[in-house]
């Protein structure tokens, strides 16, 4: 018997292209939740910036860029996506490996906003949800995270175990939007 083989959460259910929208699984690299200890948010942010070039994001925002992004992930928490988190940050924050916990999908295309309007109870139109904005919210019945990556592009995170449901829900919404022409 050989080595253990890794499987991605959306293997077999993505990608999907329907109408002008694409849903594609993305490999974000390491995912580490960073939860600064009491009174340590600034110190953690400084340590993160020193190590990875971006501070901790404010609520509902992201910092960094593709390849090394810090996504606000809830009360007192951010998710570092990309590099392995520098251990120096651990002095100021609880670090937890979440690399395998989330299914990560980009949804892109001119109608991506319309597709998400069928799943997310938050106003994701570009006037109110700009590039670099993120939300912890629902995707239909699933708790998740939605981030705007660009004018027509979003990053979606849901629990790994729900990857198939995410693909199903996206597919139905994409079909309905596409059928409107």
């Amino acid at each position: 018997m050989g080595e253990l083989v890794g499987t991605s959460p959306c293997a077999g259910v993505l990608p999907l292209t329907i109408g002008d929208v694409q849903a594609v699984e993305v490999e974000l690299g390491h995912l580490t939740s960073i939860a600064p200890f009491a009174g340590q948010a600034t110190a953690a942010s400084v340590a993160l910036e020193a190590a990875h070039g971006m501070p901790l994001p404010k609520a509902n925002c992201t910092t960094g860029k593709e390849g090394a992004r810090a996504i606000w992930f809830g009360r007192d928490m951010a998710l570092l996506a990309g590099p392995t988190c520098d251990p120096a940050v651990a002095k100021h924050a609880a670090l937890t490996d979440q690399s395998d916990a989330w299914a990560a999908v980009t949804l892109s295309g001119p109608s991506a906003e319309d597709v998400l309007a069928r799943l997310v109870p938050v106003d994701l139109r570009s006037v109110s949800f700009k590039r670099g904005h993120t939300a912890r919210t629902l995707l239909k019945h699933m708790n998740g995270s939605v981030t705007r990556l660009g004018p027509e592009s979003f990053l979606i995170l849901v629990f790994r175990s729900m990857a198939r449901t995410l693909a199903h829900d996206l597919k139905e919404a994409m079909e309905a939007v596409a059928a409107r022409g």
């Binding site: 253990l4 609880a94 690399s99 395998d100 916990a101 069928r118 729900m162």
Partner: protein, 979 residues
């Protein structure tokens, strides 16, 4: 009859459809109602109770009569309003509530029997014999009376839900709505304009008004074109706002796909929108009310505004010779428009003595009333009572108007009550009824086009101010007719025959009066007694007249009588639309473990555990019953080694200086004393002293723990931890994260479990370095993971965890290795048997009504510290030895079947609810012991060890003599676990 040159239909686009099996042609832009009227079809349905022949009454969503069924087979859809159904090629519509045919409906016998079928007749007539109601009367009545029927099969159409957000929601696109949207749109506001109709413009499309010198529809189209060019304005047609809810949330239903075959692949029939608006302007218009007179329900008798709408919007004359009957000036327009279009008008009849009639060729009867009509399947003649005597007039259509009711419904959805305005003899919305919503135009009692335009613009200007925006300067208000609305109330023409108020429910003036006589004086009681205002039109056509008559009959004024409560939805919404997206897989997310694919490949039936799917058992060739598989899998664990996916258990990572103290507070026992590299079983109580959850918690570092919860309670425990920290212990510096999804975790259990692991782990384990309840890091082929020496089966066992991406791969390897050692995978059935044999509890035992004392864990309540639930758990009643407490049960003689949910009794007593001493919670056949075993709760249980009692399952009829025993059946001293 179609009138040349009139209407907003596309005559270049003919569409073929069927009604009652007869083919017709209509045009793009037609509704079923307009297309049928154009072909001279007046008879469109049968009434609910009396099976009276009925035609279309209105031209809008309030239509009570012309309800049809479309679609065939599973796609059959009843109660579609012909006035809202846009025709398409191949449309196949049928009338409802008629047999054998619409023209010759056998149940029209009810119409002859009408004296016995008045309000409340079934309460009075079908009283005896008592048992006949359910078996005979009700089924008969239901068959005789009713609307369309569902197919009973899954409808193939799909609908969906969606969210929309805006600063300003404008509901309705008549002159008021368009003026509001235009004013707000030009100022840059984020506007959503929603129109129920397929066309923007409201009454402008149905009248011959001009706005700014343009024909009404042209002005509407021009305005919509300007709005369409604005990036900040969104426009939706075919979308009806059906409910107003808290904090600016509105529900709307959009008719998206054409019905049937033309819908594109994947397209939806309807979208249920949840619209969140900072402000809203209701410009929903008004609905014309009929006048009650004898036999006012014949096909061909329509509201006057509907006759104008069919003429102006669809180019259809509703009859060849039309009379107009009204009590207000607005009705006169119908006669004017008809004559201008070349349709013969037989008479204008106005109930008011003093009127200023327009120039007409037809006779005008002032101070006159229509007192009756003739024509069974369609109107032939009306009887008119004038100041100079009675007169019969031959007509095939009567346009009637009792005045207009502002569409106030949405303003009542949050308990608002409308205000009576005597000058227009109707109710108007009470300002402030819906926070953030203002009303404008006809729905507010402004009935001229000019007044609507003005009200819409002004409402928008006020909203703009609220939103911090400024109306763009220099905008001029469009000019339009501003004729006054003059009305003298006329609810019912005096007479002795049946005069219909509620066409849909066959409620007549007599019924309302009868209700008053029988003391159903409250308008809500009258409604329930007569059924006035129920079903698809919800009384939109009849409410005001009915309550006016009730007011009269009870000697009260209309304001005192009040209206019934208008509740959502404003317009009928199919249940499929309310439930959109929640059918089948859409009902709830499915959580799949990493071993899911392999379990399916091995033929395992999956069971739901919360949102998770877990294998029940893994059948092998030749096994015909689940018990065979289960017993074999139990044998793996007891004799060799078994592998089971336990990833679904909740795993919560706790870090920080306050982690230990927090755990001590949420668990009854102590975790601050747990050594790093060790695991401890913990019990969690609710604050009321009852058990909440249990599980093991491992100490991975000085300030680092990982807690496991049961699969079922994972979410609740996480929420609980957040609560305890944020609300009760904010001083503790601790952070939690769920890591349930990060780790794929497998139980490897059985005497050969260590042997299995030692061929797999990079570093072998032994009993010295990895004793029972040890935990720590390990690696498999360089992949780091965690190992826990814990056991739910009572055997020597481990749980091995790897990052979830490797879960599938590890599961396959573990199972392959186990199979090579005489073991294999085991599922939930075997897991359950194993834990019951060992006396381990699950939520079957900690079901919310049991305490630590009840389950024999009273000693786990540490005396040295406070914890959640400790104080309340010490209450007298919760530590009473007489309580039902956990015991094991085994059948005397060993042959009997035990079941969960059975009750326990002393031998020799009558086995009733009163004599029950407890109950069983878990019961299985133990292949290890060769007989059934059970866990249960028995009064004074621990004091009764060895006694024989009776176990009786009333549901299944299972009875057994059982011996009370300790709950641990296998290896009570734990030698196998530790060895």
């Amino acid at each position: 009859m179609r009138i040349d040159g009139k209407g907003l239909i596309d005559r270049a686009q003919p569409l073929r459809f069927q009604f009652e099996g007869i083919g017709h042609t209509g045009f793009e832009g037609d509704t079923l109602a307009s297309a049928l009227l154009a072909k001279g079809v007046r008879l469109m349905g049968r009434s609910f109770k009396y099976h009276r022949p009925r035609g279309v009454l209105t031209a809008g969503s309030e239509e009570p009569n012309a309800l049809v069924t479309i679609g065939r087979g599973a796609a059959q859809e009843p109660n579609v309003r012909a006035t809202m159904l846009e025709i398409y090629d191949g449309l196949d519509a049928r009338a409802q509530n008629a047999w054998p045919s619409l023209r010759a409906d056998a149940m029209a016998i009810n119409d002859v029997a009408w004296p016995f079928l008045g309000a409340g007749f079934y309460y009075k007539t079908f009283m005896w014999p008592r048992g006949f109601w359910e078996r005979l009367y009700e089924p008969l009545i239901r068959r005789a009376a009713g609307l369309g029927a569902l197919s009973g099969a899954h409808h193939p159409d799909r609908s969906e839900k969606a969210y929309a957000f805006c600063d300003l929601l404008v509901i309705g696109s008549g002159p008021a709505g368009l003026a509001a949207a235009l004013t707000a749109g030009r100022a840059g506001a984020d506007v959503l304009l929603v129109e129920e109709d397929s066309l923007f413009g409201g009454r402008l499309n149905a009248e011959t008004f001009e706005v700014d010198g343009l024909a009404g529809p042209d002005w509407a189209a021009q305005t919509v074109a300007e709005l369409r060019d604005m990036e900040n304005v969104r426009l939706m047609t075919r979308t009806c706002v059906v409910g107003a809810y808290d904090h600016g949330t509105y529900a709307a239903v959009e008719r998206v796909g054409p019905h049937g075959a033309r819908r594109p692949e994947g397209g939806v029939a309807e979208t249920f929108w949840r619209i969140v608006a900072k402000r809203a302007i209701l410009a929903a218009g008004a609905i014309e009310r009929p006048v009650a007179f004898e036999n006012n329900d014949r096909p061909g008798i329509m509201t006057a505004s509907a006759v104008r709408a069919y003429l102006n919007r669809w180019g259809v004359a509703s009859g060849q010779r039309v009379a107009v009957f009204g009590n207000n000036d607005d009705a006169h327009r119908t006669a004017v428009d008809l004559e201008a279009a070349g349709v013969e008008v037989a008479a204008l009849i106005d109930s008011r003595a003093e009127i200023a009639p327009p120039d007409l060729n037809c006779p005008v009867y002032a101070g006159a009333m229509v007192t009756g009509s003739a024509g069974r399947l369609g109107l032939k003649r009306i009887s008119v009572k004038t100041g100079r005597g009675n007169k019969d007039i031959e007509v095939d259509c009567l346009a009637m108007s009792g005045g207009w009711n502002p569409t106030v419904h949405l303003t009542c959805h949050m308990n608002g009550r409308p205000t009576w305005r005597a000058d227009i003899a109707s109710f108007v919305p009470t300002p402030g009824s819906i926070p953030g919503l203002v009303t404008a135009g006809a729905c507010n009692g402004d009935f001229s086009t000019q007044a609507c335009l003005k009200a819409g613009a002004e409402a928008a200007a006020a909203v703009l101010k609220d939103l911090g925006l400024k109306a763009s300067g220099g905008a001029r208000l469009a000019e339009a007719e501003d004729s006054p609305y003059r009305i003298a109330p006329l609810w019912a023409v005096p007479g002795t025959g049946r005069a219909w108020l509620d066409f849909q429910n066959d409620v007549t003036v007599k019924d309302v009066k009868q209700a008053a006589v029988e003391n159903f004086r409250s308008v809500e009681h009258m409604k329930r007694y007569t059924t006035q205002g129920m079903a698809t039109d919800q009384g939109k056509n009849s409410n005001v007249a009915a309550l006016a008559l009730l007011a009269d009959a009870t000697g009260r004024g209309i304001p005192e009588t009040g209206t019934t409560t208008f509740r959502p939805p404003f317009s009928p919404v199919s249940l499929a639309t309310f439930g959109a997206g929640a059918q089948g897989i859409g009902f709830a997310p499915q959580r799949l473990t990493t071993s899911h694919g392999e379990s399916i490949a091995r033929g395992a039936p999956m069971i739901e555990a919360g949102l998770w799917y877990r294998p029940s058992y893994f059948p092998q060739k030749g096994e015909t019953h689940w018990r065979q598989s289960c017993d074999r899998e139990v044998g793996y664990v007891r004799k060799a080694v078994g592998v089971c996916d336990v990833s679904t258990l909740g795993k919560i990572d706790l870090q920080g200086p306050g982690a230990a103290e927090l755990l001590d507070f949420v668990y009854t026992n102590t975790f601050s004393t747990l050594k790093v590299g060790r695991v401890r079983y913990g019990l969690m109580l609710r604050e009321d002293g009852f058990v909440m959850d249990d599980g093991t918690t491992a100490r991975l570092g000085d300030q680092h723990y990982v807690m496991t919860t049961t699969t079922a309670a994972a979410g609740a425990v996480m929420r609980h931890l957040y609560f305890v920290h944020q609300a009760l212990c904010p001083h503790l510096d601790v952070r939690f994260t769920s890591v349930t999804e990060q780790w794929a975790q497998f139980a490897v259990a059985g005497p050969k479990s260590r042997e299995l692991l030692n061929g797999l782990l990079d570093q072998p384990v032994d009993n010295e370095t990895w004793p029972f309840m040890a935990c720590g890091d390990m690696a498999i082929g360089g992949i780091p993971g965690r190992l826990f020496r814990i056991s739910f089966s009572g055997e020597h066992a481990y749980e091995v965890a790897v990052p979830a991406r490797y879960g599938e791969s590890l599961f396959k390897r573990l199972v392959a290795r186990a199979e090579a050692m005489g073991g294999g995978a085991y599922g939930m059935e075997a897991l359950n048997v194993l834990r019951i044999e060992k006396g381990h509890i699950t939520h079957a035992e900690i079901h919310g009504r049991t305490t630590a004392f009840d389950i024999g864990f009273a000693r786990m309540l540490s005396a040295k510290k406070d914890c959640i639930g400790k104080t309340m758990a010490a209450r007298e009643g919760l530590v009473d030895p007489g309580r039902e407490r956990l015991v094991g049960l085994k059948p005397v003689g060993g042959d009997s079947v035990l079941s969960a949910g059975a009750h326990l009794f002393d031998t020799g007593v009558a086995m009733t609810r009163e004599t029950s001493l407890g109950y069983t919670t878990s019961a299985v056949f133990s292949p290890t012991l060769g007989h059934h075993i059970a866990l249960g709760f028995l009064q004074r249980g621990p004091e009764r060890m060895g006694e024989v009692i009776r176990c009786f399952d009333h549901m299944r009829g299972l009875e057994a003599e059982v011996e009370v025993c300790p709950p641990v059946f296998v290896d009570p001293d734990g030698g196998r676990t530790r060895g």
